[in-house]
Symmetry: C2
Subunit: 392 residues, 2 copies
């Protein structure tokens, strides 16, 4: 590069950095670039689709989009965002982006797994089960996986030889992965442990009605797992609270449940995180003496769950001779996102009534608000978020 | 499970363990199970295909196959291995394996990336380049990637937005990934560093002939990277020696070459390893303060390279605020597999002449032996391995 080119590259980098910092984007300038690139590729794209493609929370995308508008790089249209003329120049001439094809495999959606041909029946049946779920309790970090999420996991574990003739424990199962496995009609010994009695009740009832063998335990993981589950399992799947203490607790309990052998498997769903937070997460894994065999971004899809862009990654961890629990006894600290990062959000209903929701408010979550309706006029949808504050 | 079932499960587990131990299989009983399962699925399958599917070295598969034959579970037929009647009983009744579909996505071969439609021309052109490579120097742990390997990497990095408008360094490039990137016809600043002058010469010549801008540096990484490359790059791809010191050295040099920013990317090819060795590998990554964003098993395919079953995984690592080099100055220890684990192998040619090859012998590798021919009768192929000894 000559001097002029270097100055140019620096300037470009500064523009991206400025937008990242104004929109408080932990992921930095690369995430700003990704948003611009995705808008360039798609022509126009809504915030929700952007969040899912880029693996960022919807509020984060919304904030960055606003800064990009202020900078004159994008415009808002009915279907979402489009590049302005100077935005297009910036993307093609300065960021030098020209390739428009999305190369993520359309057959497997990047999950590496192709569904077999009997899949449609199984999916319909699982959907009839998940429709019987109660509404999610967000104070327990519940975010219900779509039926396809449970099926992807089930087929993925089957492909990896972690189900047939094996004992599997679902450590928390608001996604109904246990029922997806039962639907595969293979020989697997399935156990479910969940803190939420509503869920273990529904799973037990569906299992009884369909003659599936699923053992359900209603249990708070802050207590050590029941004695009869200690050292019993070949495979554990868990989608823990996405907090460091939550991950630590769930991994320690997972290790208690697994057979004391090298090579036992853990399937771990976890939120996409900015590099430094990803490193913290990985430290917890390494401190437990577990090795990461595989990590697939964007594997799990959820209903709602706007805080992590509706998708999380799936990792396959394996026990080694270094594997050990960190938390042995009853755990009394906070583990859930709402406890560790309590926030209060203000929403406005269609009639402009303001409603405060949050961990410490009467209504804890947007899902609950939609269910109950506006406490003033009773209207049930079209809530818009006005503010969000972190509580100390 | 009742008592009888528990005894049965224990017995099954013991049979697998015994075979694993007799065939000195580091990966343990699960790998024995995987081999039986793959034979069951395929009906009959050769050692090479087994090695590629299960990600184990060919000699390891061969040894286990022999033990499975001794145990009466499999038979040898012309096309490879098949289950005996009792083998079939064992797999279906005791291991409880019944599902025969291979669910690995056939469109992307499990790489998550679909090639765009202009792909065939690019592949043909790259093949014409790789045919100009000299023969691999195995004492430098060279194992040439197939043309598809370089293209998978190039498209994968493009999809992840790590090429357009970016500076990439190939730290070692016997796979010609630099040329695959050049063929994409996007705006990327490409540099190659390799210890082997034969390779940097061929890449430079091909680049000149085709008017590609590729900067080539002939350099031994045991010395710190050239000053002009320090802190310059957005992206580094490396396929280092698969030894702990080799990985440590290559990662430290990679970090020297990357811009000092959070979120810079490293694409790292590495051999599939048994859990404990995978943990050691991961420790090196974590000690460098790098976070693993993604790991795809079986991503890279190679010519020959029987020692790691012709395939390795690809990980995407990202720099964090903890990122640091471990090795700063000139490194004087051993890094290559042949140095750290020197072996002597005896091969027999078609005329039953015995030839010793190995790190400390005149002929260092089977590739070299095939090139030179038997020193006694000059015959050039059909060499069979007779013994392998580890030297102290």
């Amino acid at each position: 590069m000559n001097k002029k080119e270097i100055d140019f590259a620096k300037k470009t980098s500064l523009i991206l950095e400025e937008i990242a910092s104004k929109s408080q984007l932990k992921e930095g300038k690369e995430a700003v670039r990704s948003i611009l690139r995705e808008i360039y590729r798609q022509g126009t794209i809504g915030t929700k689709s952007l969040a899912r493609k880029i693996h960022l929370p919807i509020p984060t995308i919304a904030a960055t989009r606003k800064e990009l508008e202020n900078a004159g790089l994008i415009d808002r249209v009915k279907k979402g965002a489009i590049l302005t003329e100077s935005g297009l120049m910036f993307v093609t001439k300065e960021l030098k982006i020209s390739f428009v094809n999305d190369l993520l495999c359309k057959t497997c959606s990047g999950t590496r797994i192709e569904f077999p041909y009997e899949f449609d029946d199984i999916k319909a049946k699982l959907k009839s089960f998940t429709e019987q779920r109660p509404s999610p309790n967000t104070s327990l970090d519940q975010a219900f996986g779509l039926p396809i999420t449970a099926l992807r996991r089930a087929y993925f574990m089957l492909q990896n030889d972690d189900l047939e003739g094996k004992k599997i424990l679902l450590l928390g199962d608001d996604d109904f992965t246990s029922l997806a496995i039962a639907l595969l009609d293979i020989s697997t010994d399935i156990s479910v442990l969940d803190i939420d009695l509503r869920l273990t009740d529904v799973i037990s009832r569906i299992a009884d009605e369909n003659n599936y063998q699923i053992k359900c335990y209603n249990h708070d993981l802050r207590k050590p797992i029941p004695d009869e589950l200690m050292g019993q399992f070949d495979t554990v799947l868990t989608d823990p609270p996405y907090t460091v203490p939550g991950l630590e607790l769930f991994l320690s309990r997972t290790i208690q449940a697994l057979k004391k052998e090298i090579g036992r498997k853990i399937y771990l769903a976890y939120a996409h995180r900015a590099p430094n937070d990803l490193f913290d997460f990985q430290q917890v894994v390494v401190n437990h003496g577990l090795a990461i065999q595989e990590t697939i971004p964007g594997f799990n899809l959820y209903e709602g769950a706007e805080m992590h862009g509706n998708t999380t990654s799936l990792s396959v961890l394996v026990t080694t001779s270094n594997t050990r629990t960190i938390i042995e006894n009853e755990y009394k600290e906070m583990i859930y996102t709402g406890e560790i990062n309590p926030t209060t959000r203000t929403y406005s209903c269609l009639n402009k009534h303001l409603i405060r929701i949050g961990t410490t408010e009467k209504i804890k979550s947007i899902e609950k608000l939609k269910e109950l309706g506006c406490p003033i006029c009773g209207i049930k949808d079209s809530f818009t978020r006005v503010t969000k504050e972190k509580r100390e």
